[in-house]
Amino acid sequence: MAPLHVTADNGRNGKGPDDVRALLPWYVNGTLGGDERKAVEAWLARHPGAQAEVEALRHLHRAVRAQPLQRPPDRVWAQLRARLQAATSPWPRWLTWAWTGLVTFILAFFLWALFQPGIVLRWQAHTSRPAQAHVWRVAEDGRLIPLAALPLPPGQQSATFVDPFVRPGTTYVYRVELVDRAGRVVWWWTVVQRADTQIVGFYVAIGFVSLAFGWMTVTAYVHVWNLSRRRSRPVQRHAPWVHNL
């Protein structure tokens, strides 16, 4: 606070009467400190004419204070409380589960795509320039169930196919056909494969790792989020009042 340097000599030692007169509103509202109050009283004693000004200010003071204090309508508090609740409510539990499910699913898919457990078919074409490889699964009744149509770029004669949708311990029969650009089957063969029983363990491991990682990630995020909401509530930008007093 800038000091006013008001002394009992104000008005006599070079400072004009306006210096003291400017303090009259605060003399009237009773907030002047001891020295300043004495200075004003001394100045008033020497300037009896100013007493009328003080009386007028007292009148104004009383009149302003006499105006009733207005109570805000109840709806303001109701709206404020609703905003407060919205601003402070913790992370909803259902959202935690939803995010955990999503993260788990994405991670499981990523791991599945990375390791691709299932029956793996690899072949090397010896015919000239096949355009596509058609993979079929042969059902028990002899029906051909189409699984994939793999394009083979020019020059590529080897290919790999993974059938992930297999039951562990079950034997499957596959038919692979190589097709040229005209759509004619230029070569085909049949493969018999038994699905490994370890696939189950592999899927369980993928599921467990995905779920654990998803749960830990989301829980840690929610914890940090709740903590940040509680401890450092966001302060509006350009709000100088919060730092200045």
Binding site: Q67, Q70, P73, V76, A87, V235, W241, H243, L245
Partner: protein, 184 residues
């Protein structure tokens, strides 16, 4: 005007608000809400706007309570927020008609004041004061703040506060005389 606020309890409430105590926030609103609302209504002259601003002020109090250093009274701090909010609102509105033209020369304040300061005339004259002047009159005589506190609320030097109060009183005297002449 019943405006007796316990300085210590306001401070304590604000500290509890800073810790996230919603009950303390409700108490603080109960104590300072009417004070701030009255100030806002008188400053912006629009009850609907004052209600909206009151919400914004107390949301800012909730969000910024942790930054209150305690160098001033809690009431001063909250009034400062209210003042900034009100001034921002006023700036967004149409410019207030200038009332500073043709101010009479310095003369004794008593003549106009003692004759006209009935409550209704005063209220009307206060309404016609520009927001800046209305704010200082309200802060000095309504809220009974010291000049340092007024300076803190307005965010300006003490010298500016003094000159602004002096100007506001001259303008008020002019308006009171104007109101009296109209009523006559």
């Amino acid at each position: 005007m019943a405006n007796t606020c316990d300085y210590r309890s306001e401070e304590a409430l604000l500290r509890r608000v800073a810790e996230g105590d919603q009950d303390a926030f409700a108490e603080l609103y109960a104590v300072l809400g009417p004070v701030v609302y009255t100030y806002l209504v008188r400053l912006v002259g629009d009850q609907g706007a004052a209600e909206d601003l009151l919400q914004e002020v107390f949301m800012a109090v909730w969000e910024g309570a942790g930054h209150f250093r305690g160098d001033s009274r809690a009431k001063t701090w909250v009034l400062r927020i209210a003042h900034y909010q009100a001034v921002s609102w006023l700036r967004r509105q149409r410019p207030v008609a200038a009332l500073s033209e043709a101010l009479p020369a310095e003369e004794d304040i008593e003549e106009a004041a003692l004759a006209a300061w009935s409550a209704s005339r005063l209220a009307e004259a206060l309404k016609r004061l520009p927001p800046r002047q209305r704010a200082v009159i309200e802060l000095v005589f309504g809220q009974e703040l010291s000049y340092a506190e007024v300076a803190a609320v307005l965010g300006c030097p003490v010298g500016t506060v003094k000159s602004r109060v002096s100007y506001a009183l001259r303008l008020l005297r002019h308006l009171l005389r104007d109101v009296r002449e109209k009523q006559v």
